[in-house]
């Protein structure tokens, strides 16, 4: 079984558009939307929900007012500044349990909380695992791991050979969780100074984890000079630029229609994505 993650470093470069098109082009695969704090892939597929699971990724501390004697030890012990007097700010609390440990009156309890949900849905392109992190939750890396586990299980059960992962933007914990142990990363970038700078950082990350990376320059014609700069940068670093996709408003039209662009149109963008997909599959083998 192979796993490939589509990432971008910078947000809004077209990662999900490309992942959705890949999902429509691939065969015998499982789709995993690992952008768990802003999942969008389901907006491009008709999904039929099969299973929903509570995700209890973290805990929170709660004070029993009756037992509390206001000694102030918990406030002093909390490294996250989450305790003021004996009130705990649930937003700042990381659920470490130090306060509960130091409390001489056993007045603090750690409670598991529901931090989100994981879903298994059926789409016409195959099964999709997705998730929704509750607002302002932190265990996003753990939820990504849960989504990936479920995807692997389904792939094994159904004899599917590929897991296609739509990753989150950035380089932090959920991105790392989306990348560990995959066979390949496809990095979608854009020819802007921000795109180039962010590409350098995400490439450093994939190198750090030893993951083979390919680069796709989306909307390459909005600034050809920058496109050349990205290509040169990739060449210098031995990274393959696998595709250059032109800017075309059809991409947004497809999004508005709620369809992967390759299904919505057979124009240049769709042909380019199709060709890129063939090359990605070739590189994966």
């Amino acid at each position: 079984m192979k796993q490939i993650t589509v990432v971008s470093g910078k947000g809004g470069t077209g990662k999900t558009t490309i992942a959705a098109s890949f999902a429509a082009l691939a065969h015998n695969h499982v789709i995993a939307d690992c952008d768990v704090d802003a999942p969008d892939l389901h907006l491009l597929f008709e999904t039929c929900l099969k299973e929903k699971e509570e995700f209890r990724g973290s805990k929170e501390a709660v004070v029993d007012e009756e037992k509390c004697i206001d000694c102030g030890r918990c406030e002093k012990a909390c490294k996250f500044g989450a305790i003021d007097g004996h009130t705990i700010d649930p937003i700042l609390c990381e659920g470490c349990g130090v306060c509960a440990y130091v409390c001489p009156e056993n007045a603090i309890m750690l409670r598991k909380k529901i931090s989100g949900y994981a879903f298994i849905s059926e789409t016409k392109y195959g099964p999709m695992i997705h998730a929704m992190l509750n607002i302002a939750e932190e265990a996003s890396g753990k939820l990504v791991a849960l989504v990936r586990n479920k995807a692997r299980k389904i792939a094994e059960e159904q004899g599917r050979e590929l897991i296609l992962i739509d990753g989150p933007p950035g380089i932090g914990c959920p991105v790392i969780a989306s990348l560990t142990g995959v066979d390949m990363a496809l990095i979608v970038t854009e020819p802007t100074m921000s795109g180039l700078y962010d590409l350098e950082r995400i490439l450093e990350l994939t190198h750090y984890f030893g993951i083979v990376s390919l680069v796709c320059i989306n909307k390459y014609d909005i600034n050809k000079e920058n496109t050349n700069q990205i290509i040169e940068f990739c060449q210098r670093n031995g990274v393959n630029v696998i595709s250059k996709i032109p800017y075309d408003p059809i991409v947004t039209e497809a999004m508005v229609a709620g369809k992967p662009v390759v299904e919505f149109s057979d124009g240049k963008v769709s042909r380019d994505i199709g060709e890129m997909w063939d090359n990605v599959m070739y590189a994966l083998k």
Partner: protein, 277 residues
């Protein structure tokens, strides 16, 4: 006044708004809290005068004292410690630096050690005081770096905070305690879906907010519809304009080449100021 700029979806124009706004105002501090992929420096080209390392404390185990009782591993909520028969394995990237394991260890075998997780850069860009956080590559946790950047807030200035995209802990850390949040979105189904999520975050935090619609003209009218229905103020609309996109791609704040926009950013600031109360 502290204004944060956030968005559910990435790439909607947060940094564009933050930098153009900073350039339009006086007595400003700009804090780049998108520490995973900070971009404001590309546009403002600040002169960096000081670089500060950000550390978290992580456990260090003294093998001569440890008798492998495993109490530390049992305590750690983040599975950063695993007790084997004659070894404690430490997974530093999972450690939140809570300081719990040194307290629970009955043999006093654990001390805390500093680990660098990122840097904060301080400098100036013209009249703007510039501060930016950068997460080290391979480090998963952005929040300590964001908090460190926010330590630099100067209450006598107008503070503009550029947050990371999404709705998770990094975003919360960046917008927490700010007086007003500007949500930047684009008029597409992704933009709307992620805007709704971001709105939930701000409601939960009790921070007043308004919306900027960027690249108006692409996509559909549903963001407008949503804002109207929910009574969310639309502070500014920026049309889809190839020129703006081209100026952006070169890493230039567009008011420098399209000065007619400065007025709009001043109006935006006035609106925000009046709405905060």
């Amino acid at each position: 006044m502290i204004i944060s700029i956030a968005s559910g979806k990435g790439g909607t124009g947060k940094t564009t708004i933050a930098t153009n706004m900073a350039l339009s105002l006086k007595n400003v501090q700009l804090l780049d809290c998108d520490v995973e992929e900070p971009n404001a420096h590309i546009f403002l080209k600040p002169e960096i005068k000081q670089q500060i390392s950000v550390y978290t404390s992580v456990p260090k185990i003294d093998e001569t004292r440890c008798d492998y009782c495993g109490k530390c591993a049992e305590f750690c909520e983040f599975n950063a410690l695993v007790a084997l028969k004659n070894k404690i394995m430490v997974f530093l990237e999972l450690c939140h630096g809570c300081g719990g394991c040194p307290i629970v260890c009955p043999k006093n075998a654990i001390t805390e050690e500093d680990k660098e997780v990122g840097v904060v850069k301080k400098g100036v860009a013209g009249d703007i005081e510039f501060i930016c956080g950068e997460l080290n590559i391979g480090e998963p946790m952005a929040v300590p770096v964001i908090r460190r950047v926010k330590n630099e807030i100067d209450d006598d200035k107008t503070v503009i905070i550029d947050a990371s995209p999404g709705t998770s802990c990094s975003v919360v850390a960046a917008v927490h305690g700010t007086d007003y949040c500007i949500l930047v979105t684009e008029p597409t189904p992704f933009g709307l879906h992620d805007l709704k999520l971001a709105v939930e975050v701000l409601k939960k935090l009790g921070i007043p907010f308004g919306v900027i619609i960027n690249r108006e003209g692409i996509g559909d009218q549903n963001v407008q519809g949503y804002c109207k229905e929910e009574g969310v103020p639309i502070l500014l609309t920026i049309p889809m304009d190839r020129r703006i996109a081209e100026v952006y791609s070169r890493g230039v704040p567009f008011i420098l080449e399209m000065p007619e926009w400065k007025e709009k950013f001043l109006e935006l600031f006035d609106k925000v100021q009046s709405m905060r109360s």
